[in-house]
């Protein structure tokens, strides 16, 4: 697979030239391949937000090179970066960052607005995306009329509106309870499984990271570890197997991950609908009962 992004010796310093100059990232090297579901785990202060801002083209590194799809993005102007963000990167934030006073539908349309997509097409696509995340009944609701989980689903729909190359999720479940958080994670899994989205999850939570294919640990501004997560078991390909064989001792792949993978498969096939009905609503394809959807909406958060 192609490298989608390629970071070389990325250094980020603040207060450059002053006495309290602060180096947050110390030469990060990172490749993310297309279709990969990667997580970056780190404690607060590890520099993961800074790294995410750089990967998300919201910030520029002090040193180092950043190539996206083989193109060096260092030389781009602010407005050109906006353009790249618009088309190549989908953001999912911990705090959702939906625009208040605008309906869920209008929120999903925003990236398409900046991509100059005609109004009708925009509306249709936004509707489709909201259906995909199970929000078809709340399209005209404004953010303050939605629960946290619902807001995050709208945010995900918005993030994938322009069909970006990279989905960048910064603590997407950080503000949600574990059950709702898991449902949001399931959406990411499905985007990865079914649409082969490249996803980069930034989190401080080890368990969440475990669900992904590839886990990078960030500590004090450096990547200190890389290993294979349980997520790779579900869609193992030769390359990932190679990484796992190389980087991760076999013992690290515990039984639990196999179990999770198994349940993931079962759920995916709709086998355990009775036990785990609520999860089934996340994708329209799997949702055959409108009633379940209502149940979900009724007691969400």
């Amino acid at each position: 697979m192609e490298n989608l992004i390629c970071l070389r010796n990325i250094v980020k310093k603040y207060y450059i030239g002053s006495e309290n100059e602060l180096e947050v990232l110390h030469g990060i090297n990172l490749d993310i391949r297309e279709g990969e579901f990667t997580s970056i785990v780190g404690e607060s202060g590890s520099g993961k937000s800074t790294l995410m801002n750089i990967i998300g083209l919201l910030d520029r590194p002090t040193e180092g090179t950043y190539e996206m799809k083989g193109i060096d993005v260092d030389g781009l102007s602010d407005d050109e970066l906006s353009d790249v963000r618009n088309r190549q990167i989908g953001f999912v934030f911990q705090t959702y960052n939906l625009i208040p006073r605008m309906s869920a539908l209008a929120n999903v349309e925003v990236p398409m607005l900046y991509a100059r997509i005609p109004r009708k097409e925009r509306e249709e696509k936004a509707q489709h995306l909201l259906e995909m995340v199970g929000m078809q009944d709340r399209m005209m609701h404004r953010p303050d009329e939605l629960s946290g989980g619902q807001k995050q689903r709208v945010a995900i729909a918005r993030a994938i509106a322009n069909n970006p190359s990279l989905l960048l999720a910064d603590e997407p479940t950080g503000a949600l309870d574990s059950k709702t958080g898991q449902r949001i994670m399931d959406i990411f899994h499905r985007l990865h499984e079914e649409q082969h989205k490249t996803i980069l999850l930034i989190t401080h939570s080890q368990p969440l990271a475990e669900e992904t294919e590839r886990i990078l640990t960030l500590k004090d501004g450096q990547i200190v570890g890389e290993r294979v997560g349980s997520g790779s078991a579900g869609s193992a390909d030769a390359e990932k197997a190679k990484i796992s064989a190389k980087d991760v001792p076999a013992t690290e792949k515990g039984d639990s991950s196999h179990k999770e993978a198994a349940s993931f498969h079962a759920e995916h096939l709709g086998a355990d609908k009775t036990e785990d009905a609520e999860d089934g609503i996340i994708f329209l394809e799997l949702d055959d009962k409108g009633k379940m959807r209502e149940e979900e909406a009724g007691h969400a958060d």
């Binding site: 801002n53 910030d59 906006s82 963000r85 605008m102 900046y114 991509a115 100059r116």
Partner: protein, 433 residues
């Protein structure tokens, strides 16, 4: 994009109705003040032009006044002090300006003691309120705009000089006394009570002419048409004979019209010095000649000054309003920092953020402008109708200018906050609490 920005602007304004209204107030007041004064001003101009066409641009008014500072003692006979154009003086003037003067009008008012009625009528219901003015035949030439003859004839020279009891009445009087039948009125006789020192005496006049009444004083709407008082014109000499007022015996002012083509303002100046030169050296009197054109120009000039003053007040209100818009946009942008950060993360370019907030500022000030225009037209109509008693005329150019000014204010005062928003750092904006 612009459509979305406009829709968003309305949504955000609707979410902060009171704040938006208070912000717009400065603009509303500024625009309303200017539109109101423009409405009154154009109404005034239109009215001036209308009066101009009635009085005639060629009309000149000549007055003789007592000089300022003439001492009046106990011995002074006040009747002697009444200024008078002597016959000889008028004759000289007519000879001197034979090529310029078209007609001369003299008039004297007589107090009446009640309404006019058909001769010997005892029916209380048939009456016509009137006032009485003695005039010469030239009066009808000079005032042909205001007193247009509709039937019959004006006084003959003989009737003017010989104290005849003939009269020229309004069509309204004919309507009241003769069912509007002018033919029936002509030659008919009416009784007019003319006040003397103690009481009033009925004098019987024969109608020889009918003129069209025009409601210059704006009685219509104030009283019923039936009760509007119109002027009955009688011969000048006859009025002088009946009057008990010593000043009525003397001509102290008259109007004249010049032949078309004569420069009225030039003529007035010339006439003023000519008549002054005819006065005796030890005179207590002074001549004052004025013409309609000069008056209209002065009136327009006054209107311009008034308009300028109120426009300046309006401009100050607009600047204050604009600063209000700028202030509220700064507040809005601070409140919506996260939204701006989000939009930037989602791919908004600087100019798109800038356009969004400038649009919001423009919509706000434009809405203020529209409300201001409506309020201004309303206020203008009220002033015209109830204060000036003239038909209001909405000044279209000033309405158009107000639209442009509102948009301009939005752009000008919205630019700085919008630019600030456009240049925000997306990371800081997203982190903003």
């Amino acid at each position: 994009m612009l459509i979305e920005d406009v829709r968003l602007a309305f949504m955000n304004m609707a979410a902060n109705k009171l704040r938006t209204f208070l912000t717009m107030l400065g603009i509303i007041i500024g625009i309303a003040a200017v539109i109101a004064i423009m409405t009154v001003g154009s109404a005034q101009t239109a009215e001036n032009e209308r009066q101009n066409s009635m009085y005639g641009v060629n009309t000149v008014s000549v007055n003789m006044w007592l000089k300022d500072g003439v001492e009046i003692t106990e011995d002074t006979n006040t009747a002697d002090l009444i200024p008078e154009f002597k016959e000889s003086m008028l004759d000289k003037m007519v000879q001197n300006y034979a090529d310029e003067i078209e007609a001369i009008a003299v008039q004297t008012y007589l107090p009446t003691g009640g309404p006019a009625r058909p001769e010997n009528s005892t029916n209380d219901r048939i009456y016509a309120n009137c006032d009485v003015t003695g005039v010469n035949p030239g009066y009808f030439t000079v005032n042909k705009g205001m007193v247009p003859m509709k039937a019959g004839r004006v006084f003959s020279r003989k009737e003017t000089v010989e104290d005849s009891y003939v009269c020229i009445v309004s069509d309204l009087l004919v309507k009241n006394l003769f069912d509007g039948d002018a033919d029936k009125a002509l030659g008919s006789r009416i009784d007019i009570p003319i006040a003397s020192d103690e009481d009033s005496l009925d004098y019987t006049y024969t109608i020889i002419g009918v003129y069209g009444f025009s409601d210059m004083a704006g009685y219509a709407g104030v009283s019923s048409e039936k009760d509007i008082s119109t002027t009955v014109y009688i011969p000048f000499k006859n009025a002088q004979a009946l009057s008990t007022d010593p000043s009525a015996k003397k001509i102290s002012n008259f109007d004249l019209t010049v032949i078309p083509g004569v420069d009225v303002i030039q003529f007035s100046d010339d006439l003023n010095s000519y008549l002054t030169s005819l006065l005796p050296a030890d005179t207590n009197d002074q001549i004052y000649v004025y013409n309609n054109q000069e008056w209209i120009e002065q009136s327009n000039e006054n209107m311009r000054k008034q308009t300028l003053t109120i426009t300046m007040i309006g401009a100050i209100a607009l600047v204050v309003g604009g600063i209000g818009v700028m202030n509220i946009m700064t507040v809005t942008i601070t409140e919506r920092t996260r939204e701006i950060g989000t939009r930037k993360a989602l791919g908004a370019k600087r100019r798109e953020i800038r356009l969004q907030f400038i649009t919001e500022a423009v919509i706000m000030s434009l809405l203020g402008g529209v409300i201001g225009i409506a309020a201004g037209i309303g206020a203008g109509i009220i002033v015209c109708h109830f204060v000036q008693h003239i038909p209001p005329v909405v000044s279209i150019p000033s309405v158009a200018a107000s639209f442009l000014v509102s948009v301009g204010i939005g752009i000008f005062f919205g630019f700085y906050p919008a630019d600030k928003a456009a240049k925000m750092d997306p990371i800081e904006a997203l982190r903003y609490e």
